[in-house]
Symmetry: C2
């Protein structure tokens, strides 16, 4: 990811401290995951050697870092100071000392549990909370620079979708895994730094929403579901399009028309102040009304940003009101076990002018040659 100006991190740190005060969090500890690069520009290596940023509500933030990794950190004295530890030091004991008298400590969501278990042994009376408590209000509201990167990633994913629609990505006679690798290479060619996933599911395999692309050979006359995304400059793309190889049977055409309408309804519902579950309800009610409700087996969407899936989630039970800068997927699906499946997905950003879709690739069930 690109390092932002130091002032961006100074500002974020000030805002997170405000959240800590408001929610009674004494200290925030961040390791592997996305909160750390959001606050410091540095991504911890997923290692048994602990990297840990300790942010007290007041006082300076300290980044414990294995001495080996220290040369990789861009230091920002106005944001954090670096505390390298040596190979035979005990970083948990050091973290415990740095945490001092903190009573309520918020822990990065993806930090490996081994470190938390070891810290608990040192601090049996600490109250542990999730970092999302203080980070979500910051991270879920994307600023203009973040939205620009999400839009660029979305446009890159759209170009790959267009290659799928044009038939440039051959399907018939290839395995799902082969097409998946092809899509991955195209995501990189279009500007992504990393491929996060490229689901390719043909025919009956499309009925498993998270199908793992495998050795199944794609044949004429079937639907192919492609759901792919990557990371560009630290932010994620995520798009789903289906194509049909040759003439579309009536049952699939009928269901797709419902899906298309449901997805548009979900996108349109994302106005400021609407509860997140309202987006889910808008898409789901269209599918329910058409009699496919029991085959729409997942939530309608997830937030997206530095993580492929992050807050806010478009799911029943989430009353969080949509705010300007919320970025999320709208991706209803219909899955008939043993027969076929379909899903249609765009990324949307909430704005005061209404929902702005970041994907513009053809939304139809495009027919490709056999």
């Amino acid at each position: 990811m690109k390092l932002a100006a130091e002032s961006v991190y100074v500002d974020r740190l000030a805002r997170v401290r405000k959240e800590m005060s408001a929610r009674g969090v004494d200290s925030l500890i961040l390791s592997v995951g996305h909160d750390l690069p959001y606050l410091t520009g540095y991504q911890a290596m997923p290692l048994e050697r602990l990297t840990l940023l300790v942010v007290p509500r007041e006082g300076d933030a300290t980044m414990l870092i294995p001495r080996l990794e220290a040369p990789r950190v861009v230091e920002m004295p106005s944001v954090f100071s670096l505390l390298p530890w040596n190979e035979t030091d005990d970083p948990i004991a050091i973290a415990h000392r740095v945490l001092g008298s903190a009573t309520t400590v918020a822990v990065g969501d993806r930090m490996w549990s081994r470190f938390l278990v070891d810290l608990i042994a040192h601090r049996p009376s600490t109250v542990w909370a999730r970092s999302v408590t203080v980070m979500e209000p910051l991270r879920s509201r994307k600023d203009a620079a973040e939205i620009a990167v999400l839009a660029a990633a979305g446009a890159a994913a759209d170009r790959v979708a267009a290659q799928l629609h044009s038939g440039e990505i051959r399907l018939v006679g290839r395995t799902e895994a082969d097409v998946s690798a092809d899509i991955g290479a195209r995501l990189i060619a279009e500007g992504h730094d990393k491929v996060n996933f490229a689901i390719v599911a043909a025919g009956e395999n499309a009925a498993s929403p998270h199908h793992h692309a495998g050795s199944r050979v794609i044949r004429g006359g079937e639907i192919v579901l492609c759901d792919f995304g990557g990371t560009m400059d630290g932010y994620c793309s995520d798009i789903t399009r289906c194509v049909h190889i040759g003439e579309v049977p009536a049952d699939i055409a009928e269901a797709y028309a419902v899906l298309h309408e449901a997805q548009s309804a979900g996108v349109r519902a994302g106005t400021i102040g609407t509860p997140c579950e309202g987006v889910d309800a808008a898409a789901r009610s269209v599918i329910d009304a058409a009699g496919y409700g029991e085959w729409f087996v997942h939530r309608t969407g997830h937030g997206i940003g530095m993580e492929e899936h992050e807050d806010p989630y478009m799911v029943r039970g989430n009353a969080t009101p949509i705010e300007p800068g919320h970025a999320y997927s709208v991706e209803p699906g219909i899955y008939i076990p043993g027969k076929w499946g379909m899903r249609l997905e765009d990324i949307v950003v909430a704005t005061t002018d209404g929902p702005r879709a970041l994907n513009a690739a053809n939304h139809d069930l495009v027919v490709v040659a056999g």
Copy 2:
């Protein structure tokens, strides 16, 4: 990774329960990470949707799984039963119920902390332990099938090292990042399923042991450190070789001779019953004696298997005796800040006949053309 026969998992589960009894662990919970596939053949998706295997010391093991992911699990009724949860269920509440009256619970090392934090709120008086307590005795002692896969992965890495030595992998005029991508592609071409890392560090960059391959262009007359590995059939390779472009200056030649001797000494030291720190001491004493001690800034090695780094670690303070089937790296290094760095690494398996190196690529500082 390849699924083993069901009997393999039945046997592992029986052994882990024996460890649980011996160590007073009532329940083991596993999610993202490698303990789960080791015990069930299934790798959890790194998702906000919780997958959790709950293994009570007595009674049946249960795998909580998001309903979406359930089709991906190969069920093994004699190992675990599947408990799918729906999108609007609370998987933490379900996990809490399944854990029942367990007092001491061992948690998978890499499980996301968010799930542990949420569980703690439900179970304030549970004593938390690390899964390594009960899994390490199993996982660190590789069986014949595991060693065969590690050897195959090592041989594949050796073939890429040979391509480096032969000059087939061009260096001069290319960026480190470009060479890194090339090495990655060759790891795949030689049979790996996944590239884990490919450090390429030229000249002064080699003095940072975990240097991130970047835009630095490789020039004639410098040392290039390449440390790379991937995963093949679920097990990891890891090898480091250095090459020098054109004639080797006297200071580098002299240091490399020391490094080479230190690495051999470390490999030879790995006999059954020797404490792990003895391997570190054997390599380090050679480097210390030659006066380079302050520039050998990391431990000598790490265990390897399903994870790139796992127990046992070859580090001062680790008195664990080496046992048959222990697999680990021996990788001393010498790093002169601002000038150059060098490291030499093989994977070794401990056997009753003595240490068996899984890498046989040329150990010299091979000179490649400019």
